[in-house]
């Protein structure tokens, strides 16, 4: 017997939960394809991240035809496969808020030794259910209020007022994506920020998200 028998062998979790709008409108202009690719890339990046200072846990809640945990919250390096998202149905954002509130309040799922979670919502439309009460519960819950909340509004139809209210990061009140490429760029920036946090000696401290819409990384710098 040794002290190893009584001490956690895994680094403290750094939970990241994505709330992804998969309503019918996400099916146009290549948005759902871009989201699928962005999520796939994010999972692969997180899985490759070292687990020295923090272990990134990733969960994906989708809201469209129904609200479901497409990827239950689990260590990123243990996620074996990602089944692609399909866009259809309404935008039950309120039900998604309630589901993420439940996850954040669950001390079995997210222990108190975990670092402050990050919740990211990605949506291109107006909610089709009541979100006032669910959002209020998310913002005032004993634990859920402590999570960092980020929002990405896609296109001009997204409900900016609610998404602004969702975000609680003063440095990033609301991110906006104009097209499918921006969605990928946003996820890339979030991935870099979370990865930097997981490598940091102080994983509870936010790392700025370096995202610029229309940041065209295909553009060659040719000087003319």
């Amino acid at each position: 017997m040794s002290i190893n028998d009584f001490v956690a062998k895994a680094a403290r979790p750094l939970p990241v939960i994505i709330l992804a709008d998969v309503s019918g409108s996400m099916g146009v202009d290549g948005k759902i394809e871009a989201l699928n690719q962005a999520l796939k890339d994010m999972i692969e990046s997180f899985a490759q991240e070292g687990r020295m200072n923090a272990e990134i846990h990733l969960g994906l809640i989708t809201f469209g035809d129904r609200v479901t945990q497409h990827l239950p919250l689990s260590p990123a390096h243990q996620i074996k496969a990602f089944s692609r998202l399909n866009a259809s149905g309404p935008t039950p954002m309120g039900a998604a808020f309630d589901m993420v509130s439940q996850l954040l309040e669950d001390k079995e799922l997210i222990p108190s030794r975990a670092y402050r979670p990050v919740v990211i919502i990605v949506s291109d439309g107006l909610p089709t259910d009541d979100i006032t009460q669910p959002l209020s519960r998310l913002r005032s819950g004993e634990r859920s209020q402590k999570a960092t909340r980020l929002a990405l509004a896609i296109g001009s139809d997204a409900d900016l007022s609610y998404l602004k209210t969702f975000s609680n990061d003063p440095e990033a009140p609301l991110f906006q994506a104009n097209d499918a490429r921006d969605i990928r760029n946003f996820f890339r920036a979030v991935t870099m920020s979370v990865s930097a946090r997981s490598r940091s000696a102080k994983p509870n401290e936010s790392v700025k998200i370096e995202y610029l819409p229309e940041d065209d990384d295909d553009l060659l710098e040719l000087g003319f």
Binding site: I3, F6, V7, A8, K9, A10, R12, R51, S112, R143
Partner: protein
């Protein structure tokens, strides 16, 4: 009967990397028929957290030594807090720059003990977990001296050390947050320590804390084990 204290504090890897001092502090002592042990953990983001924890430990000892064992909780906590503020004023340090947790346990020769605990960290024994940080939030979200203004922020209690296997452990969160089973940990650690002299025990503790098995551990780690000799009975 006087307890034996085994105590150790090691600087965390993150503080070594950042060339910061150990922000934990510990003190333990016996006098006449009483004893006291205290561990404090300065909040890492504050510029004088090492001073905050050191002065809090001294203030805690002062409070217990200058009050009757049966003094009410508010008297003890208020004396501690005011003494800490006075010490900081002498050092020209603002309380907000020296925020610190405080885990204080004090007792008498007949085995009675009391505790006062503010912020992160833990008091445990081989029999039970006596006091743990409020687990409403996530890691490293603490309150402490310099932030708290209410007695209700403190976890307060009392007992007989004989009901706890004659052993109590005070730990900062660098240790407590990584424990799978605090009571089993307390049993194991004190079983090992009681077979050693104080000096050997401290060396063993230092090795364990410096080679902490949790990946990515970064905090300072501080522990005091308060152990009464085997077979102790009420005087």
């Amino acid at each position: 009967m006087k307890p034996r204290f085994y105590q150790c504090s090691v600087i965390g890897p993150a503080h070594i990397r950042d060339l910061l001092p150990n922000q934990d502090y510990l003190l333990a002592k016996c006098w006449e028929r009483r004893w006291v042990a205290v561990v404090c953990d300065g909040m890492g983001s504050r510029s004088h957290s090492d001073i905050g924890s050191r002065e809090a430990a001294k203030a805690a000892i002062y409070s217990v030594q200058n009050n009757d064992f049966n003094s009410d909780d508010k008297t003890i906590v208020q004396a501690l807090y005011l003494n800490w503020l006075a010490r900081l004023k002498t050092l020209n340090v603002e309380p907000k720059d020296a925020v610190t947790t405080c885990i204080l346990v004090w007792g008498t020769a007949d085995g009675r003990f009391r505790y006062a605990h503010l912020g992160d960290g833990m008091i445990a024994s081989p029999k039970s977990l006596l006091s743990n940080a409020n687990t409403t939030g996530f890691s490293n979200e603490t309150t402490g001296l310099g932030l708290s203004r209410h007695l209700s922020d403190w976890r307060l209690g009392s007992g007989y050390i004989q009901d706890h296997g004659n052993r109590l452990l005070l730990m900062t969160d660098g240790i407590s947050e990584d424990l799978l089973d605090p009571t089993a940990f307390s049993q194991y650690v004190t079983d090992v320590l009681l077979k050693k002299s104080r000096r050997q025990g401290k060396c063993w503790l230092k090795r364990q804390l410096n080679n902490w098995p949790t990946p990515g551990h970064s905090d300072d780690k501080t522990l005091i084990a308060v152990c009464l000799p085997q077979g102790f009975i009420n005087e």
